[in-house]
Amino acid sequence: MSDGPLFHRDRTWHPKPLSPDYKTSVVRSPQKALLSMNTTLSEETGPVFAHDMLGELDNDLILNFAKPGEMALGQRIIVHGRVLDENGRGVPGALLEFWQANAGGRYRHAKEGYLAPLDPNFGGCGRTITDADGQYSFRTIKPGAYPWPNGVNDWRPAHIHFSVFGRSFGQRLITQMYFEGDPLIPLCPIVRTISDPEAVAQLIAPLDMNNTVPMDARAYTFDIVLRGRRSTMFENRMEGN
Protein backbone atom coordinates (compact mmCIF):
# COMPACT_ATOMS: atom_id res chain seq x y z
CA MET A 1 0.00 0.00 0.00
CA SER A 2 1.47 3.32 -0.97
CA ASP A 3 1.22 6.07 1.58
CA GLY A 4 0.99 9.15 -0.55
CA PRO A 5 0.81 12.78 0.52
CA LEU A 6 -2.24 13.71 2.55
CA PHE A 7 -4.96 15.96 1.16
CA HIS A 8 -4.71 19.44 2.50
CA ARG A 9 -7.11 20.20 5.32
CA ASP A 10 -10.08 22.37 4.40
CA ARG A 11 -9.68 24.87 7.19
CA THR A 12 -12.98 26.54 6.30
CA TRP A 13 -14.78 23.30 7.18
CA HIS A 14 -13.02 23.02 10.53
CA PRO A 15 -13.74 25.43 13.38
CA LYS A 16 -11.86 28.69 13.34
CA PRO A 17 -9.13 28.65 15.98
CA LEU A 18 -10.21 32.08 17.25
CA SER A 19 -13.89 31.86 18.15
CA PRO A 20 -14.59 34.67 20.65
CA ASP A 21 -17.90 33.19 21.83
CA TYR A 22 -15.88 30.22 23.07
CA LYS A 23 -13.94 32.39 25.45
CA THR A 24 -10.98 30.14 26.19
CA SER A 25 -10.05 30.17 22.50
CA VAL A 26 -9.22 33.88 22.69
CA VAL A 27 -5.88 33.36 24.47
CA ARG A 28 -5.23 29.86 23.11
CA SER A 29 -5.54 30.37 19.35
CA PRO A 30 -2.43 31.18 17.32
CA GLN A 31 -2.49 34.75 16.04
CA LYS A 32 -0.06 34.29 13.18
CA ALA A 33 -1.08 32.44 10.05
CA LEU A 34 -0.37 28.72 10.05
CA LEU A 35 2.48 27.88 7.69
CA SER A 36 1.16 25.71 4.89
CA MET A 37 3.38 22.80 3.93
CA ASN A 38 3.05 19.61 1.96
CA THR A 39 3.26 16.46 4.02
CA THR A 40 6.50 14.53 4.38
CA LEU A 41 7.22 11.11 5.82
CA SER A 42 6.91 12.68 9.27
CA GLU A 43 3.20 13.34 8.69
CA GLU A 44 2.43 10.45 6.31
CA THR A 45 3.60 7.74 8.73
CA GLY A 46 2.07 7.16 12.14
CA PRO A 47 1.72 4.77 15.03
CA VAL A 48 -0.24 1.55 14.54
CA PHE A 49 -2.18 -0.12 17.32
CA ALA A 50 -2.82 -3.86 17.44
CA HIS A 51 -6.18 -5.40 18.31
CA ASP A 52 -4.48 -7.54 20.97
CA MET A 53 -3.83 -4.38 22.96
CA LEU A 54 -7.53 -4.15 23.76
CA GLY A 55 -9.13 -5.52 26.90
CA GLU A 56 -12.40 -7.41 26.62
CA LEU A 57 -14.47 -4.57 28.07
CA ASP A 58 -12.62 -1.66 26.51
CA ASN A 59 -15.57 -0.98 24.20
CA ASP A 60 -18.23 -1.39 26.89
CA LEU A 61 -18.54 1.68 29.09
CA ILE A 62 -21.56 0.16 30.83
CA LEU A 63 -19.34 -2.52 32.36
CA ASN A 64 -15.69 -1.50 32.10
CA PHE A 65 -15.65 0.48 35.34
CA ALA A 66 -18.57 -1.22 37.10
CA LYS A 67 -18.26 -3.44 40.12
CA PRO A 68 -18.81 -7.12 39.34
CA GLY A 69 -22.51 -7.74 38.79
CA GLU A 70 -23.34 -4.04 38.56
CA MET A 71 -23.62 -1.63 35.64
CA ALA A 72 -23.62 2.05 34.81
CA LEU A 73 -26.87 3.98 35.20
CA GLY A 74 -28.50 5.56 32.20
CA GLN A 75 -30.06 5.01 28.80
CA ARG A 76 -28.25 2.11 27.16
CA ILE A 77 -26.96 2.90 23.68
CA ILE A 78 -24.73 1.40 21.02
CA VAL A 79 -22.59 3.75 18.95
CA HIS A 80 -21.33 2.31 15.70
CA GLY A 81 -20.09 3.42 12.34
CA ARG A 82 -17.13 3.46 10.02
CA VAL A 83 -13.89 5.33 9.87
CA LEU A 84 -13.33 6.38 6.25
CA ASP A 85 -10.90 8.59 4.44
CA GLU A 86 -11.91 11.40 2.12
CA ASN A 87 -11.67 9.00 -0.82
CA GLY A 88 -14.43 6.94 0.80
CA ARG A 89 -12.19 4.01 1.66
CA GLY A 90 -12.61 2.34 5.03
CA VAL A 91 -9.67 2.81 7.39
CA PRO A 92 -8.81 -0.51 9.03
CA GLY A 93 -6.87 -0.57 12.29
CA ALA A 94 -7.89 2.94 13.34
CA LEU A 95 -7.72 3.44 17.09
CA LEU A 96 -10.71 5.29 18.52
CA GLU A 97 -10.69 6.51 22.09
CA PHE A 98 -13.88 8.02 23.51
CA TRP A 99 -14.83 9.76 26.73
CA GLN A 100 -17.99 11.27 28.09
CA ALA A 101 -19.96 12.50 31.08
CA ASN A 102 -22.26 10.12 32.94
CA ALA A 103 -26.04 10.04 32.52
CA GLY A 104 -26.36 13.06 34.82
CA GLY A 105 -23.83 15.14 32.88
CA ARG A 106 -20.96 14.69 35.37
CA TYR A 107 -17.40 13.75 34.43
CA ARG A 108 -15.15 11.62 36.62
CA HIS A 109 -12.38 14.23 36.86
CA ALA A 110 -10.66 16.10 39.69
CA LYS A 111 -11.33 19.46 38.06
CA GLU A 112 -15.04 18.83 37.43
CA GLY A 113 -17.34 20.83 39.69
CA TYR A 114 -20.89 20.20 38.45
CA LEU A 115 -23.25 19.26 41.27
CA ALA A 116 -24.71 16.24 39.47
CA PRO A 117 -23.58 13.02 41.20
CA LEU A 118 -20.88 10.61 40.12
CA ASP A 119 -22.05 7.15 39.16
CA PRO A 120 -19.84 4.70 41.08
CA ASN A 121 -20.15 2.26 38.20
CA PHE A 122 -19.22 4.62 35.39
CA GLY A 123 -15.68 5.67 34.50
CA GLY A 124 -16.41 7.39 31.21
CA CYS A 125 -13.64 6.11 28.92
CA GLY A 126 -13.46 3.41 26.26
CA ARG A 127 -11.58 2.50 23.13
CA THR A 128 -11.71 0.23 20.12
CA ILE A 129 -9.92 -0.44 16.84
CA THR A 130 -11.68 -0.58 13.48
CA ASP A 131 -11.94 -3.88 11.61
CA ALA A 132 -10.83 -4.62 8.05
CA ASP A 133 -13.67 -2.48 6.62
CA GLY A 134 -13.17 0.40 9.01
CA GLN A 135 -16.17 -0.59 11.17
CA TYR A 136 -16.33 -0.03 14.90
CA SER A 137 -18.89 -0.21 17.67
CA PHE A 138 -19.11 0.29 21.40
CA ARG A 139 -21.72 0.26 24.11
CA THR A 140 -22.32 3.01 26.63
CA ILE A 141 -25.01 5.08 28.30
CA LYS A 142 -26.30 8.29 26.80
CA PRO A 143 -24.37 11.14 28.41
CA GLY A 144 -26.27 13.97 30.05
CA ALA A 145 -26.09 17.60 29.01
CA TYR A 146 -24.10 19.77 31.40
CA PRO A 147 -23.53 23.45 32.17
CA TRP A 148 -20.09 24.98 31.77
CA PRO A 149 -18.50 28.27 32.68
CA ASN A 150 -18.37 30.36 29.52
CA GLY A 151 -21.44 32.54 29.33
CA VAL A 152 -23.49 32.46 32.53
CA ASN A 153 -25.97 29.95 31.15
CA ASP A 154 -24.14 27.85 28.57
CA TRP A 155 -24.95 24.15 28.35
CA ARG A 156 -23.16 21.51 26.37
CA PRO A 157 -25.50 19.30 24.34
CA ALA A 158 -25.13 15.60 25.11
CA HIS A 159 -21.92 14.52 23.40
CA ILE A 160 -19.19 11.93 23.25
CA HIS A 161 -15.59 13.00 22.68
CA PHE A 162 -13.61 11.00 20.09
CA SER A 163 -9.87 10.82 19.53
CA VAL A 164 -8.95 9.14 16.24
CA PHE A 165 -5.72 7.70 14.81
CA GLY A 166 -5.71 6.74 11.14
CA ARG A 167 -2.55 5.55 9.42
CA SER A 168 -0.73 8.86 9.57
CA PHE A 169 0.21 11.24 12.34
CA GLY A 170 -1.03 14.01 10.04
CA GLN A 171 -4.54 12.50 10.19
CA ARG A 172 -4.73 12.91 13.96
CA LEU A 173 -8.14 14.21 14.91
CA ILE A 174 -10.20 14.94 18.01
CA THR A 175 -13.87 15.63 17.56
CA GLN A 176 -17.24 15.22 19.28
CA MET A 177 -20.39 13.30 18.44
CA TYR A 178 -23.78 14.87 19.10
CA PHE A 179 -27.21 13.24 19.18
CA GLU A 180 -29.98 13.77 16.64
CA GLY A 181 -32.72 16.08 17.82
CA ASP A 182 -30.90 17.74 20.72
CA PRO A 183 -32.17 21.35 20.99
CA LEU A 184 -28.93 22.41 22.71
CA ILE A 185 -26.80 21.75 19.61
CA PRO A 186 -27.46 25.05 17.81
CA LEU A 187 -27.07 27.01 21.06
CA CYS A 188 -23.66 25.67 22.00
CA PRO A 189 -20.66 28.03 21.61
CA ILE A 190 -18.35 25.06 21.01
CA VAL A 191 -20.58 23.67 18.25
CA ARG A 192 -20.79 27.17 16.84
CA THR A 193 -17.02 27.38 16.39
CA ILE A 194 -17.90 25.48 13.18
CA SER A 195 -19.45 27.92 10.74
CA ASP A 196 -20.84 25.66 8.01
CA PRO A 197 -24.13 23.99 9.06
CA GLU A 198 -23.26 21.03 6.82
CA ALA A 199 -20.08 20.53 8.79
CA VAL A 200 -22.02 20.61 12.07
CA ALA A 201 -24.43 18.05 10.61
CA GLN A 202 -21.47 15.74 10.01
CA LEU A 203 -21.05 15.48 13.79
CA ILE A 204 -24.69 14.66 14.60
CA ALA A 205 -25.40 10.94 14.90
CA PRO A 206 -28.85 9.81 13.79
CA LEU A 207 -30.89 7.31 15.73
CA ASP A 208 -30.55 3.96 13.95
CA MET A 209 -33.61 1.82 14.66
CA ASN A 210 -32.40 -0.98 12.36
CA ASN A 211 -29.41 -1.65 14.57
CA THR A 212 -31.24 -1.03 17.83
CA VAL A 213 -31.30 -4.14 20.02
CA PRO A 214 -34.95 -4.67 21.03
CA MET A 215 -35.62 -4.34 24.75
CA ASP A 216 -31.94 -3.49 25.32
CA ALA A 217 -30.13 -0.59 23.66
CA ARG A 218 -30.84 2.00 20.99
CA ALA A 219 -28.22 2.45 18.29
CA TYR A 220 -26.70 5.65 16.93
CA THR A 221 -24.60 5.70 13.78
CA PHE A 222 -21.54 7.88 13.61
CA ASP A 223 -19.12 7.76 10.68
CA ILE A 224 -15.81 9.55 10.99
CA VAL A 225 -13.86 10.82 7.98
CA LEU A 226 -10.08 11.30 8.05
CA ARG A 227 -7.86 13.08 5.56
CA GLY A 228 -7.42 11.29 2.25
CA ARG A 229 -4.26 10.64 0.27
CA ARG A 230 -3.20 11.64 -3.20
CA SER A 231 -2.17 9.02 -5.67
CA THR A 232 1.60 8.71 -5.66
CA MET A 233 1.88 8.17 -9.44
CA PHE A 234 3.37 11.54 -10.24
CA GLU A 235 5.08 12.45 -7.02
CA ASN A 236 8.68 11.93 -8.05
CA ARG A 237 9.51 15.40 -9.32
CA MET A 238 12.26 17.44 -7.77
CA GLU A 239 10.81 20.10 -5.50
CA GLY A 240 12.02 23.62 -6.05
CA ASN A 241 13.23 25.52 -3.07
Partner: protein
Protein backbone atom coordinates in the same frame (compact mmCIF):
# COMPACT_ATOMS: atom_id res chain seq x y z
CA UNK B 1 -20.06 16.63 -16.27
CA UNK B 2 -19.17 13.99 -13.74
CA UNK B 3 -19.04 15.14 -10.16
CA UNK B 4 -16.12 14.84 -7.80
CA UNK B 5 -17.54 13.27 -4.69
CA UNK B 6 -14.82 13.20 -2.09
CA UNK B 7 -16.04 13.05 1.49
CA UNK B 8 -15.24 15.91 3.81
CA UNK B 9 -12.95 15.35 6.76
CA UNK B 10 -14.91 15.28 10.02
CA UNK B 11 -14.64 18.72 11.55
CA UNK B 12 -12.46 18.96 14.63
CA UNK B 13 -13.80 19.94 18.03
CA UNK B 14 -11.85 20.93 21.11
CA UNK B 15 -10.49 18.15 23.29
CA UNK B 16 -11.99 20.02 26.23
CA UNK B 17 -10.74 20.07 29.82
CA UNK B 18 -11.31 16.36 30.43
CA UNK B 19 -9.26 14.90 27.58
CA UNK B 20 -7.40 12.95 30.26
CA UNK B 21 -10.41 10.71 30.84
CA UNK B 22 -10.24 9.36 27.32
CA UNK B 23 -6.53 9.53 26.56
CA UNK B 24 -4.67 9.15 29.87
CA UNK B 25 -7.26 7.75 32.28
CA UNK B 26 -4.72 6.35 34.73
CA UNK B 27 -3.07 9.77 34.95
CA UNK B 28 -6.39 11.28 36.04
CA UNK B 29 -7.24 8.58 38.56
CA UNK B 30 -9.45 6.31 36.46
CA UNK B 31 -7.66 3.07 37.18
CA UNK B 32 -8.59 -0.50 36.48
CA UNK B 33 -9.88 0.08 32.95
CA UNK B 34 -6.58 0.03 31.01
CA UNK B 35 -3.29 -1.46 32.29
CA UNK B 36 -1.39 1.70 31.48
CA UNK B 37 -1.88 4.91 29.60
CA UNK B 38 -1.01 4.65 25.92
CA UNK B 39 2.15 6.43 24.86
CA UNK B 40 3.57 6.70 28.37
CA UNK B 41 6.62 4.58 27.51
CA UNK B 42 8.56 4.98 24.27
CA UNK B 43 11.85 3.21 25.00
CA UNK B 44 13.10 0.07 26.74
CA UNK B 45 16.53 -1.28 27.66
CA UNK B 46 17.13 -2.48 24.12
CA UNK B 47 16.23 0.72 22.29
CA UNK B 48 19.02 1.87 20.00
CA UNK B 49 20.19 5.46 20.12
CA UNK B 50 21.03 8.33 22.38
CA UNK B 51 18.62 8.67 25.32
CA UNK B 52 17.15 12.13 25.71
CA UNK B 53 14.46 13.85 27.72
CA UNK B 54 12.18 16.30 25.97
CA UNK B 55 10.21 18.54 28.28
CA UNK B 56 8.33 21.79 28.15
CA UNK B 57 5.26 23.84 28.89
CA UNK B 58 2.52 25.23 26.68
CA UNK B 59 1.80 28.92 27.38
CA UNK B 60 -1.30 30.89 26.46
CA UNK B 61 -1.34 34.48 25.22
CA UNK B 62 -1.20 35.87 28.77
CA UNK B 63 1.92 33.83 29.56
CA UNK B 64 -0.02 31.41 31.74
CA UNK B 65 0.93 27.74 31.49
CA UNK B 66 -1.79 25.45 30.17
CA UNK B 67 -2.50 22.89 32.86
CA UNK B 68 -4.89 20.86 30.76
CA UNK B 69 -2.93 20.32 27.54
CA UNK B 70 -2.23 16.94 25.99
CA UNK B 71 0.87 16.65 23.84
CA UNK B 72 1.72 13.85 21.43
CA UNK B 73 4.98 13.31 19.59
CA UNK B 74 5.96 11.15 16.62
CA UNK B 75 9.55 10.65 15.54
CA UNK B 76 11.90 8.40 13.65
CA UNK B 77 14.25 5.96 15.34
CA UNK B 78 17.97 6.56 15.63
CA UNK B 79 18.48 5.46 12.00
CA UNK B 80 15.83 7.85 10.73
CA UNK B 81 13.20 5.16 10.09
CA UNK B 82 9.61 5.48 11.29
CA UNK B 83 8.28 2.54 13.25
CA UNK B 84 5.23 1.99 11.05
CA UNK B 85 4.09 3.22 7.67
CA UNK B 86 7.59 3.93 6.44
CA UNK B 87 8.10 2.59 2.89
CA UNK B 88 11.81 2.09 3.62
CA UNK B 89 11.12 -0.65 6.16
CA UNK B 90 10.31 -1.25 9.78
CA UNK B 91 11.89 0.83 12.49
CA UNK B 92 13.62 -0.27 15.70
CA UNK B 93 11.33 -2.92 17.27
CA UNK B 94 12.29 -1.63 20.71
CA UNK B 95 11.15 1.91 20.06
CA UNK B 96 7.53 3.04 19.72
CA UNK B 97 8.24 6.35 18.01
CA UNK B 98 5.05 7.73 19.50
CA UNK B 99 4.54 9.33 22.87
CA UNK B 100 1.70 11.03 24.69
CA UNK B 101 1.95 13.16 27.80
CA UNK B 102 -0.42 15.36 29.76
CA UNK B 103 0.75 18.55 31.38
CA UNK B 104 1.14 18.40 35.15
CA UNK B 105 -2.03 19.63 36.89
CA UNK B 106 -0.05 22.17 38.95
CA UNK B 107 2.75 23.30 36.65
CA UNK B 108 1.65 22.34 33.15
CA UNK B 109 5.03 20.68 32.50
CA UNK B 110 5.05 17.58 30.27
CA UNK B 111 7.96 15.24 29.69
CA UNK B 112 8.97 12.51 27.24
CA UNK B 113 11.75 9.99 27.73
CA UNK B 114 12.87 9.12 24.23
CA UNK B 115 15.89 8.93 21.94
CA UNK B 116 17.36 11.42 19.53
CA UNK B 117 15.83 10.73 16.11
CA UNK B 118 17.86 10.21 12.96
CA UNK B 119 17.44 12.35 9.85
CA UNK B 120 14.50 11.63 7.54
CA UNK B 121 14.29 12.44 3.81
CA UNK B 122 12.18 15.25 2.41
CA UNK B 123 10.01 14.18 -0.57
CA UNK B 124 12.69 15.32 -3.04
CA UNK B 125 15.31 13.12 -1.41
CA UNK B 126 17.28 15.76 0.47
CA UNK B 127 17.60 15.03 4.17
CA UNK B 128 15.67 16.91 6.82
CA UNK B 129 17.47 17.64 10.06
CA UNK B 130 16.47 15.37 12.96
CA UNK B 131 13.15 16.56 14.34
CA UNK B 132 10.14 15.45 16.33
CA UNK B 133 6.58 16.11 15.15
CA UNK B 134 4.27 17.56 17.82
CA UNK B 135 0.48 17.63 18.11
CA UNK B 136 -1.09 19.71 20.87
CA UNK B 137 -4.70 19.70 22.02
CA UNK B 138 -6.44 21.35 24.98
CA UNK B 139 -9.55 23.17 26.05
CA UNK B 140 -9.80 26.30 23.91
CA UNK B 141 -7.86 24.76 21.02
CA UNK B 142 -10.45 24.04 18.35
CA UNK B 143 -8.20 22.01 16.08
CA UNK B 144 -5.03 20.22 17.16
CA UNK B 145 -1.89 22.28 16.59
CA UNK B 146 0.95 20.76 14.57
CA UNK B 147 4.53 21.81 15.03
CA UNK B 148 8.05 20.32 15.05
CA UNK B 149 11.07 20.57 17.23
CA UNK B 150 14.64 20.56 16.04
CA UNK B 151 17.83 20.27 18.05
CA UNK B 152 20.26 23.05 18.95
CA UNK B 153 23.73 23.13 17.42
CA UNK B 154 22.68 20.77 14.65
CA UNK B 155 24.58 21.68 11.47
CA UNK B 156 21.78 20.23 9.31
CA UNK B 157 19.27 22.81 10.55
CA UNK B 158 20.68 25.62 8.40
CA UNK B 159 19.93 23.74 5.17
CA UNK B 160 16.86 21.81 6.28
CA UNK B 161 14.54 21.70 3.25
CA UNK B 162 11.46 22.22 5.45
CA UNK B 163 12.82 25.04 7.58
CA UNK B 164 14.32 26.95 4.65
CA UNK B 165 10.81 27.29 3.17
CA UNK B 166 9.77 29.49 6.07
CA UNK B 167 9.55 33.11 4.99
CA UNK B 168 10.18 34.71 8.37
CA UNK B 169 13.49 33.05 9.23
CA UNK B 170 13.59 34.95 12.53
CA UNK B 171 10.75 32.70 13.71
CA UNK B 172 12.63 29.46 13.04
CA UNK B 173 14.23 29.71 16.49
CA UNK B 174 10.79 28.99 17.98
CA UNK B 175 11.21 25.44 16.67
CA UNK B 176 14.64 24.83 18.16
CA UNK B 177 14.77 23.22 21.58
CA UNK B 178 17.15 24.45 24.27
CA UNK B 179 19.53 22.03 25.91
CA UNK B 180 18.57 22.71 29.53
CA UNK B 181 21.07 20.17 30.84
CA UNK B 182 23.00 17.39 29.10
CA UNK B 183 20.54 15.26 27.08
CA UNK B 184 17.55 17.25 28.36
CA UNK B 185 15.89 19.41 25.75
CA UNK B 186 13.39 22.05 26.70
CA UNK B 187 10.76 23.02 24.17
CA UNK B 188 8.27 25.59 25.40
CA UNK B 189 5.31 26.20 23.15
CA UNK B 190 3.83 29.68 22.97
CA UNK B 191 0.35 29.81 21.51
CA UNK B 192 0.51 33.59 21.04
CA UNK B 193 2.74 36.60 21.58
CA UNK B 194 6.12 37.73 20.28
CA UNK B 195 7.55 34.22 20.71
CA UNK B 196 4.56 32.47 19.15
CA UNK B 197 5.66 29.02 18.06
CA UNK B 198 5.38 28.28 14.37
CA UNK B 199 2.38 26.05 13.77
CA UNK B 200 1.94 24.25 10.48
CA UNK B 201 -1.01 23.61 8.21
CA UNK B 202 0.35 20.30 6.99
Amino acid sequence: MQKLTPLKESPSQTAGPYVHIGCVPNFCGITGVYDQDLGSTMVNDQTKGERITVTGTVFDGTGTPLKDALVEIWQADTDGIYKTGDPRGAGDPNFTGWGRAAGDYDTGIWTFETIKPGAVPFPDGRMMAPHIAFWIVARGINIGLQTRIYFPNDPMVANDPWLTRIEHQNRVQTLIAKEASPATFQFDIHLQGPDETIFFDV
